[in-house]
């Protein structure tokens, strides 16, 4: 299911004018504060009626100003997680969670509420009202409310911003599951590179109401000229297969014949995954390294060197596992004599591949 969005809208601050088609999966909207992300999401939700445009999920048209079509928000079967919560203050947490379920059509595929409640860790809050919740608790209830509405389209506007890392790590897999198993299209706003890397099928980078760059996550993330969330987000996405789980708590992945080790992940052996290798975390060497604590060494050839701003450069290295990006200083480029075609080794720490960067099943992005 693909999401296509075309919008034109004049706001006091900026002129929104954008057009993108996102394939099935998670489309991440990326961009600086005030660049128009929430406005786009609101237009898709039908809370804002743009001057001109069209939004459709496959051939299910949500609105189309040319053809005068307009589906009111309540007919769009949304699960909208708002940037500011918007819980119903007069209902308990339980009633808030159930709200969407009251209106879902009978035949709708239903989430299991207990499972969602457990994942969000809000079981002990069910009888409270929103005024008695902490900021993060509110946000979690809001996530639950949207997920339990049996949505056909999920809109998530910085859903995890208020949460601690541990809680994020518990919730992210859920979005992955929605993306992969239930295949609900998800439009997801975030500033977090880790979330982008993990969830995004495609990324739309916005700048002042326009699309700056748009494409599969792996491409956009690998492009230092976009770096919508700052250089730290640059990284490569590799397709891998789970090869083995070792006793010492490591899992072994296989990618094009090469082996990668990382802390134990829960996926089954044989499962296909994708994994993000932040350019930041890769060290290059012109000799086979020895005696290093880093367990992952991929040999390959320099494909290209792109100088970024400042003293850094992004070196792409063609390895059997795929293209790996490394962010190094220009001084190192010179010292190691790196240039396109030169063989080299990419060294990746085992623990740099924390489970956070392991995505779900692989899709053609």
């Amino acid at each position: 299911m693909s999401l296509s969005v075309r919008l034109k809208q004049q706001l006091p601050g900026i002129a929104l004018d954008l057009d993108f088609d996102a394939p099935s999966g998670v489309t991440v909207l990326f961009g600086r504060s005030g660049s128009g992300k929430t406005t786009v999401v609101n237009a898709v939700a039908g809370l804002l009626r743009p001057e001109a445009g069209r939004v459709a999920v496959d051939d299910w048209v949500l609105f189309d100003t040319d053809r005068g079509e307009w589906l009111p928000p309540h007919r769009r079967r949304l699960g909208y997680i708002f940037q500011e919560g918007r819980l119903f203050p007069h209902l308990t947490v339980r009633q808030n969670l159930n709200y969407g379920r009251w209106f879902a059509p009978r035949g709708a595929q239903r989430e299991n509420p207990d499972r969602v409640i457990e994942m969000l860790g809000i079981g002990h809050l069910l009888d409270r009202r929103p005024a008695m919740l902490s900021g993060g608790e509110k946000q979690r209830v809001a996530i639950g409310r949207a997920l339990l509405a049996s949505p056909r389209l999920i809109l998530a506007d910085e859903p995890l911003a208020a949460l601690d890392d541990a809680r994020k790590a518990e919730i992210l897999p859920y979005f992955e599951r929605l993306r992969d198993e239930v295949s609900v299209p998800i439009l997801y706003v975030t500033h977090s590179a880790a979330e982008v890397a993990r969830l995004a099928t495609s990324v739309v980078a916005l700048q002042e109401g326009r699309v700056l760059r748009h494409g599969p996550a792996s491409e956009v993330l690998a492009d230092p000229s976009v770096a919508p969330a700052g250089v730290r987000a640059v990284g490569a996405l590799l397709k891998v297969r789970v090869a083995a789980h070792h006793k010492d708590g490591l899992s072994e992945l296989e990618a094009g014949g090469a082996r990668l080790f990382l802390p134990r992940i829960s996926h089954r052996i044989g499962e296909e995954l994708r994994i993000r290798i932040p350019a930041q975390e890769v060290i290059l060497s012109n000799k086979q390294p020895e005696g290093l604590s880093a367990l992952n060494v991929l040999s390959g050839q320099v494909e290209a060197i792109r100088a970024g701003e400042g003293p850094g450069a992004i070196v792409s290295v063609n390895t059997p596992a795929g293209v790996v990006l490394a962010r190094v200083t220009r001084r190192s480029v010179a010292a190691l004599g790196l240039e396109p075609g030169r063989p080299c080794y990419a060294v990746i720490k085992t623990v740099a591949l924390a489970p956070q960067d392991v995505g779900g099943r692989v899709f053609a992005p």
Binding site: H74, R77, Y80, F82, E84, F88, H90, G100, R129
Partner: protein, 222 residues
């Protein structure tokens, strides 16, 4: 006391029956923009501005047995003239502006963003109203109803002009008070009636405050 029972019945029904209209009109005035909105707004306030006698007279002209509305309604078996229903109609109309204003203020205080949230979760406009707006304006509805009830308990001018004062049918407490006040030496009896009506109205007031606060607390937490 017959007048008391009647007054309670009249006020109760006047409040109850006008409440849905009051909520509807308040919602329309607060949230919709339509031509004639200001006319409706003015019309609603009319009974407040007009001397009650005039309102009563207008009611008599419209809903009287020969009136343009009274006649067809009488054909349907709905008679207002000289019935307690007429007293309720008069009380309801007199109380209407108070009710609408209170409810409208509450509606305007509800954040449309919550209503939007309801819509994204699949609730139609009507359901959003029933599940989000209405519960949230509950204190305003209570306030509106209590104002209306109190006003209805005290209404006299329009009632007596419209449906006269027929013991057992339309002789409400205020009419009785008025009658006592007209004759020398009636003060004691009038005072008694006034005290009764104060007690009743205060009771209703306290009850409404209590209910309103309970609801507000439930929402605000703590």
């Amino acid at each position: 006391m017959e007048a008391l029972r009647l007054s309670l019945r009249v006020s109760f029904w006047a409040t109850l029956v006008t409440l849905p209209f009051g909520i509807f009109v308040a919602y329309a005035l607060a949230r919709w923009r339509f031509p004639g909105r200001q006319v409706l707004n003015g019309l609603v306030h009319l009974p407040l501005i007009l001397p009650p006698v005039v309102t009563g007279y207008l009611l008599l002209l419209t809903f009287g047995l020969q009136g343009p509305l009274g006649k067809p309604l009488a054909g349907l078996g709905i008679v207002f003239a000289f019935r307690w229903t007429g007293a309720a109609l008069a009380a309801g109309i007199m109380a209407f502006p108070l009710m609408v204003r209170a409810i409208r203020l509450s509606i305007e205080a509800v954040d449309p963003k919550l209503e939007q949230a309801g819509a994204t979760l699949g609730a139609s406009r009507l359901m959003v109203f029933a599940t989000v707006t209405l519960p949230m304006i509950f204190p305003g509805v209570i306030a509106g109803a209590i104002l209306a009830f109190a006003k209805a308990m005290g209404e006299f001018g329009a009632t007596i002009t419209f449906v006269s004062n027929i013991p057992g049918q339309t002789q409400t407490l205020p009419s009785a008070v008025y009658a006592f006040l007209q004759v020398p030496g009636g003060e004691a009896a009038a005072t008694r009636l006034v005290i009764i009506s104060i007690i009743i109205a205060m009771g209703a007031l306290l009850l409404s405050e209590y209910v309103g606060r309970r609801v507000a607390e439930r929402v605000a937490g703590s």
